[in-house]
Every structure is written in C-alpha cells, then in structure tokens.
C-alpha cells in the first residue's frame, strides 16, 4: 500500500504539526514515511500552509503528483489541491463550519467525480472539548487515522510524547478531540470505500529530517565549533547543535553575519578544531571570500549550503538546486573545493561526517549542498547510523621532520602536513597571499604555478580516494540519467516505474560532485544514446558542466516550481526521450 496524504489549511492552523504527528505515529508502527512541509516565508498566520506525507509498506524517497487523501482544515486553501486529487481519493473536511459560505469558495465543488467525502464536524468537536476551534487539526487527524486504519492508541501515545512539555490537560484535551473524531467516523463511515488501510507491522523506525541528519553527522564527527547566522532553511541545524553540541564540550556561536561565521570556522579549524557553518543562498554568497582564504591558506572548512529558491532573497521556503554554480565557481582565482551532495536523509548524516574528514585530510573547503526539500523532509531511517572510527583526519607532521618542516611542502599527493599552531618546533606563517613552501609571501610566477598545481593535485588525490559514483540499472539501457541531490530519489523511483513499462534506464548516482567523477560520467555517456539530466534550476547547471563529455547526448529537464520533482515528472521525461529514440 502506498498512500499520499495532503494536509491543507492556512498558516497557524497546525497543518505542519499534524503532518509531524502522523509521521511519528506511522513510523512508530513500522510504516515507511516521507513527510515534506511547504509554508509561506512569513513567520505566522499568513498565506496557505500544506504538508505532504507519503506512507508506504516499502521504503519511499520521493513524492508522486497524486493525492490519495486530502485533509482540509480550511476550504479556501484547499481549492488549489482539488484538481490534484485522484478519482478514488478520500477527502476529509469540516462538515459543520461556523458560517455559511458560498459555492464559489468551496473546494468540494471542484473535486473530480468519484471522490469519497468524509465530512467531520472538526470545529464543533474542538469547541466541545476545549471551547476553542484550535484543535480542529487534531480532529482531522483523528478522522485520518481511522481512514488509514492506524491504531488510535499509537496516535494518542505520540500526542502524549509530542506535547509532553505542554502538560497533562493539553494532552488530555487533544487525545479527547482525536478520539471523538475517530469514533464519529467509526459510526458514520462504515464501508471500505471510506478506508485506505495501511499495514502496521509494529516494529518502529526512527524519523529524521535532512537538517537533523546533518547535525547528527556533525556531532558524530566530533565537530567542536559551530558558528552561524540564522537563515531559512538552514536554521534547524543551528538549533539542534545549539542544544546538543555543549553536551560534548563543543561551542555554538551566533555571529553578527555569515562573513563572521565562516571566519570563526576558519579560525577554529586553524587550531585543529573540527568546525562548521551552515547557511543558505544569500549567506553562502557572503561567505565566498573566505572560501578563497580556506583554499589558499589550506585551512579545513565545512560549509553546509541548504539551497532555496534564488537569486537574492528569492524564495526562502521553496526548494531549488540552483547553487551548484556558485558552489563550483564562486570566488576569484583558482580555488580548490570539494562539493558533496547527499541524495537522501541517511546520506545527509554520512556526508556530514565525510565533509569533516575531507576538509581535514585535503585542507580545503568542503561544501555540503543540501536543499530545502532534503533539509525539511522527514523520513524513516532504515539503517543504523555508524559512528566514524576516526574523528581526526588531519595529516600532522612527524616530530622527526622538524628540521625539514615546510608547511606548504609540494608533496606527491599535494597534501602537506599541518601542525596545530603552537606545536613546538613547527612554527609557520599562514596567509591569503600566495606563498612559498614555508608560508612566506612570494609572488614569482614559478612559485604561483607550483603552489597552485600542488593545491589542485589534492583534488586528483581526493578523486581517487573519495569517488563513490555508481551506475545503477540495466547495463544495456539506451537512456541514461545523471542526477544529483534530492532529485535522485525521484529518479530512482522513476527508474522502477520505467522498468515496469518496459523502458530500460541506467542512472549515475554520486554524492561527490567535485572533484567530478569523470570516468564514471564518460562510461555512462559512452554506453547510452541519450542522457537525461533533471535539475531544479533554470540553467541546467550540472548539464552545462557535463557538456564537455558529449553535449549532443544531453537532454535537460529543468524545473523551478519550488516544488520537489516527482517520479511522475521524471517518468514523463523518460517516455519522451524513449519516443524520440524509437522514432530515430
């Protein structure tokens, strides 16, 4: 069973909250869950709010376009979703609102024929128990868990856990509203046409968001300094680390802006501390100058960029993958960097650990590119997160090399041992100016070339050591897909859909975007006739990067709707490409 639920209402009605409570409840009963929030950029009570939760008895990594159950707490807000519901959908709505309303304001008038209406007096139930209508979201949840056949007791337990801080009365009232709506449906909606039952196994899964997984990864990697300036959608990383980092003797610093934040990270890293900042597009733009310093001075630096709609302030609460270019090319001069892009929540954890490892080992900035969808979506985790064996990957000089020590020694693999400042006998100068092997500023062309070459040699070393690119799917497929970041989930699901329709696909999946896994990319391009590159940006930023291989094979699919790409979106493109190939 695979069910997509859309919660729809206005900001302030607790739409996200019931999405979260359902997610936690379902996960606790062994259902696989994917939850994504969409809301206005304003803090409260303005605009519409919706949340999507996909429940399945098998793991899921993207959304579909269809809605199986629409839960409406505000009729006007739900009009926009009326056309997206399937013919066999179930609609949960308030059938006893306070005031009479006209047909033109009714989403019920716009639903396709065949949908099943499950009207519940949401406002009334809330008022009867609390005297206010605020609990109508919980009444809607009560009706929903009846429809889904999720045990009422599991949801009550989650409510008690979720609102423990708010006290017994609050929990009791919410449980009473939940039960009232549930029992109302038990009496009113008896037949199977009102049910979309999902199998409950009883063995629960943990649930995490991408942001939480990044923060957990940072904690596991023994990050000891986090410096940041709040920005949507990266702030939850800040908040979680502010709560948990002090417990492992780390520090969290809120700086006056993003330039300061990255400067703190560089300063801390210079002393050997594993340190990190997290930001989004506008903040990342401000950090570019220090990325150059990190590269030139060979100081480790971990930057998480949670992409949102841009440019400028842009669309703070919408998802995009449009910061690849700035991550790749941002800054002046020839700057080294490593770019990691996790494709799911679990990889947010592992990539955060890798970011620290790589920043220290290769002494350069590591940019972890997440995005609004990945950061905000919450999903069930099916594997145990492994703790890293090593939490210090900095290559330090051996004491025997004291006499011949040169901080920026031009080594074979480009990596020069880096002592912690103050280590006796290993004194050196570090600067953003070009320098010689000892760290002394030198501007002659031979030295500039030698040092630049050394810095870029580290990327070659890294490519051999960290490449995780893999080609998945039918080796004989004529259509290839290169995908990155959160879009990959939809691509992999689309690959299965395509297989079921007799279309063979192969997918190049990688979390390392730079240094570019050239061999794997060339292997894919040479083995297929067309390469589809779906991206949530306007320019086709990855596609442009890959034109050096075989530009005429590339088919771009660029969407900037602010909404995550779905497997159906990708499938439609696959079918188009397949049609083109058949005609040829």
């Amino acid at each position: 069973m695979d069910i997509t639920i859309k919660f729809s209402g206005t900001a302030g009605q607790g739409i996200q909250t019931i999405g979260d409570v359902l997610t936690n409840t379902a996960a606790s009963t062994g259902i696989h869950v994917l939850n994504f929030r969409s809301y206005g950029a304003e803090i409260r009570a303005r605009g519409n709010s919706d949340a999507t939760v996909r429940l399945s008895n098998t793991p899921v990594s993207s959304f579909t376009d269809d809605i199986d159950v629409l839960v409406s707490t505000q009729r006007n807000a739900s009009i926009v979703w009326a056309s997206a519901v399937k013919q066999d959908s179930i609609i949960i709505f308030d059938n006893d609102p306070k005031q009479v309303f006209d047909e033109k304001d009714s989403f019920l008038a716009k639903l396709p024929p065949g949908v099943t209406l499950c009207g519940v007096p949401l406002t009334l139930f809330s008022q009867e128990i609390t005297g206010a209508s605020k609990g109508k979201n919980i009444a809607a949840l009560g009706a929903l868990i009846y429809v889904l056949d999720i045990p009422l007791e599991s949801c009550e337990a989650e409510i008690a856990r979720f609102w423990k801080r708010k006290g017994d009365l609050f929990v009791k009232n919410n449980c009473a509203i939940l039960r009232k709506a549930y029992e109302y449906c038990q009496t009113e909606y008896l037949t199977e046409s009102y049910r979309k039952k999902i199998k409950v196994t009883g063995k629960g899964f943990p649930v995490l968001s991408g942001n939480q997984a990044v923060a957990k990864g940072a904690l596991a990697a023994k990050c000891s300094i986090y410096a940041g300036y709040p920005i949507t959608p990266a702030t939850p990383i800040f908040e979680m680390l502010a709560k948990e980092l002090p417990a492992q003797k780390g520090k969290v610093i809120q700086t006056e802006d993003e330039i300061s934040a990255i400067s703190v990270v560089l300063g801390a890293s210079f002393t050997g501390a594993r340190s990190m900042t997290a930001t989004s597009g506008p903040g990342f733009s401000l950090m570019i100058e220090q990325i150059g310093l990190s590269s030139m001075a060979e100081v480790p630096c971990v930057i998480v960029c949670v992409q949102r709609g841009g440019p400028s302030t842009g669309l703070p609460t919408k998802t995009e993958q449009s910061d690849l270019n700035i991550a790749l090319y941002g800054g002046h001069g020839d700057t080294t960097r490593i770019i990691l892009a996790p494709t799911n929540v679990s990889e947010c954890y592992s990539c955060a650990i890798k970011a620290f490892d790589y920043a220290q080992r290769y002494q350069m900035p590591v940019i972890l590119l997440s995005d609004f969808f990945l950061a905000n979506r919450r999903e069930t985790i099916h594997e145990t997160f492994k703790k890293p064996k090593k939490t210090d990957t900095l290559v330090k000089p051996k004491s025997s090399t004291q006499k011949s020590f040169k901080r920026f020694k031009n080594t074979k693999n480009g990596i020069s041992p880096m002592p912690i400042p103050g280590t006796e006998g290993f004194y050196y100068t570090t600067t953003g100016l070009e320098h010689n092997e000892s760290g002394t500023p030198v501007y002659d062309p031979e030295n500039h070339l030698a040092q630049t070459d050394k810095r870029f040699r580290k990327l070659k070393t890294a490519l051999q050591e960290i490449n995780d690119a893999e080609i998945i799917g039918d080796p004989k497929a004529k259509i290839g897909i290169v995908s990155w970041g959160s879009t990959t989930g939809a691509v992999l699901e689309a690959m299965s859909l395509a297989q079921s329709k007799g279309i063979s696909i192969k997918v190049l999946k990688t979390t390392v975007l730079w240094p570019l896994p050239e061999n794997s990319i060339k292997e894919l391009f040479s083995s297929v006739e067309k390469v589809l590159i779906p991206e949530m940006n306007y320019q086709g930023q990855l596609a442009s990067l890959l034109t050096f291989v075989e530009a005429d094979k590339i088919i771009r699919f660029n969407v900037i709707s602010g909404i995550p790409l779905t497997s159906i979106d990708i499938m439609q493109q696959i079918e188009k490409v397949n049609d083109v190939l058949r005609k040829e």
């Binding site: 609102p97 009479v100 006209d102 008038a109 639903l111 396709p112 065949g114 009207g119 037949t191 046409s193």
Partner: protein, 336 residues
C-alpha cells in the same frame, strides 16, 4: 449572457438521466448533480446479484451515465442538501454551503418504510436499501448465516433467493397486506409465495413478531404464536415510501409524494420533481399517483429534463411494470 444554473438533487435513475438529458438540450447550462450517496447512479434492482456474487461491482453502474467530466456536469457525491430557500432560489448543503439555482429538480427517490407497530424494533433492523448496505453485508458475511426477512414487496423476494443461493438459512415473514398493495393481483402474490416455497427459504405466515432481544451474535425473535427463534440478522424490507422531506420542509406541496403536474412541475415554478419521490397528476384519473420503479424513473427524469429545458412534454401514464423473479415475470401495479 448568464448561463442557466440547473441543480438536481438525487443521483438515482431519474436524477442522473435528467442531468445527461438536460446537457443534450442545453449546451451551455451549468449543471450540478448532488447526491447524499457516495456512488453515482447504479442499478438498485441488481444489488441482490452483486450480493451473491453473480454480478461484478462495475456492472452495477450504467456505463452511459459515467462521463460527468466529459459532459461538464458537476457531480457532488456524499453531500446532503439540508434545505431549500425558495425565495432566493438557493439551497443549502449540510456543511453550510450555499448553492443557487435557476431551476431545481428534486429526485430524492424513496426511503424505507417501517409499519408503526414495528417502530420500537428499528434499532435491531438491517436495511437493504443501497450499495453501502450491501458493502457492509459483504464485509460481514458471517451475519448472513441465519437471516430473518420482514417482507412487504418484491425486493425481499430477490434478497431471500440471493441469500438462499449463498447457503443462508432464510426465514421469510411476509406481510401480505403490504405485498398485495404492491403486487395488486392475487395471482402475482400466489406466484411469489410459490417461488419462495419451492426454494430453500422457510416461508412463515399467520404470525407476527411479539418481541426481539439482542444477543451476543444475533437476535432472538418471539412470535405471537408462542414460538421463538434465533437469527444472525433481521432485514427490514417492509417496503418503501417517497422521500419528500426536503420538499415538505421547503413548503412544496406533498401528499404521499411531491405533488407535480404531468410536466413534473411542483407548486413552485422553478422546482420540478421526478422519479419515485414524485406523485404525478394523471389527467385521465384526475388524481395524483406515484409511479415507482426503475424504468419509470428513467422516463420521468428524461421528460422532466425536457420540461426544464423549455419544452412542454407530458408524461405518458400507461407504464407497465414487470419484475423478473427467477425467470417468472411478476406484474406489479402503480400506487393510486
């Protein structure tokens, strides 16, 4: 020019056929069909076949009445009309939505009839009135092992035979007076009883129910002749009567049904009624009569549609009604 807004309440045979017919005459009309049932038009008289598995669910639905989107007819299922505001030509749905109309067709069909002597037992009765009732029975087939049918027409005969074919041990208590009203002729009644007696159904006569007691997994029924028996379920199928609640509460003239002239107009010139809920004026009889049954409802819906669209078509009063029960054609009459 403003589009004519036509609203139809009830998606049964009369309402659905009217909607599609109106579309064929009025291309640009804004048509909305509202029904309290969650399903669009299905053959009610085939429900027994669906129950015993001899008919697939999809064949319950009339394939000609499914293209609502194509025909630009707004279908609003599971939505109950609570009242009509005739003065403002609007109606209100139970969830407080207001819908205006230029012309309204009421096709609310029938509701189950229970004799007043049995009103105190209604909490023990199961209905067999619509598709939802059947779905519930199919989900709980254990309850069908030992049914008692309280019968007052022809539908219970079909149900009894369907249950018999499913292996149920059916007791059939016929209310002859009621059945006679439906069947009209003594011959039809005899034929019906003979069919039942020749099947595995246990036909009960000359007794009335004295008491019903709910037990863990069923009921114990005590009869006036002193006997008592346990049943897993009790079906109340005494018969049906026109569903006139909405019209009555809105001040539209009703007797046994909603009173309409031979053009299906009520006493409100903007409101029409057709199908089993309508009590139609018969100029030959100079009286009103209710003309029950699926084929009649279809014809009435279509004629009402023509009148709604401005034509002046009178209803043909010579309808023939025949029920097919186990290959036997049983005539039944229209109510006067």
């Amino acid at each position: 020019m403003k589009k004519q807004r036509i609203v139809i309440v009830g998606s049964g045979a009369a309402g659905s056929h009217a909607a599609f017919k109106i579309r064929s005459y009025a291309n640009d009309a804004n048509i909305t069909l509202i029904s309290k049932e969650p399903h669009h038009c299905y053959y009610k008289y085939k429900l027994t076949k669906y129950l015993n598995g001899s008919l697939k669910k999809e064949l319950l639905f009339d394939s000609r009445l499914q293209n609502f989107t194509e025909q630009d007819i707004t279908l609003r299922l599971s939505q109950r009309v609570s009242k009509i505001d005739r003065q403002n030509r609007s109606l209100y749905l139970a969830h407080k939505e207001k819908i205006s109309y230029d012309k309204l067709l009421i096709a609310t069909g029938v509701k189950p009839y229970v004799p007043s002597a049995y009103h105190s037992f209604t909490q023990h009765f199961t209905l067999f009135n619509n598709l939802e009732d059947v779905e519930l029975l199919l989900a709980n087939q254990k309850a069908l092992k030992k049914p008692l049918i309280l019968a007052g027409g022809l539908t219970p005969v079909q149900l009894a035979l369907a249950l018999d074919s499913m292996g149920s041990k059916v007791d059939y208590l016929m209310f002859k007076k009621r059945t006679k009203i439906v069947l009209g002729e003594e011959q039809s009644l005899e034929k019906t009883v003979s069919i039942l007696k020749n099947s595995g159904v246990r036909y009960l006569e000359d007794c009335e129910i004295k008491g019903i007691v709910k037990k863990d997994h069923g009921y114990t029924v005590t009869y006036t002749n002193g006997s008592s028996k346990s049943y897993s379920i009790i079906f109340s199928l005494f018969g049906v009567e026109s569903n006139t609640r909405l019209a009555e509460e809105s001040g539209i003239e009703c007797e046994k049904g909603i009173l309409v002239d031979e053009h299906f107009r009520t006493n409100d010139k903007y409101i029409y009624a057709a199908g089993d809920c309508a009590q139609i004026y018969n100029p030959k009889l100079r009286d009103y009569w209710v003309n029950f049954g699926w084929p009649n409802a279809v014809v009435q819906g279509m004629i009402a549609a023509k009148n709604i669209c401005g034509m002046k078509v009178a209803y043909d009063t010579n309808q023939v009604n025949v029920f097919d029960v186990k290959g036997e054609r049983i005539r039944f009459r229209n109510w006067e």
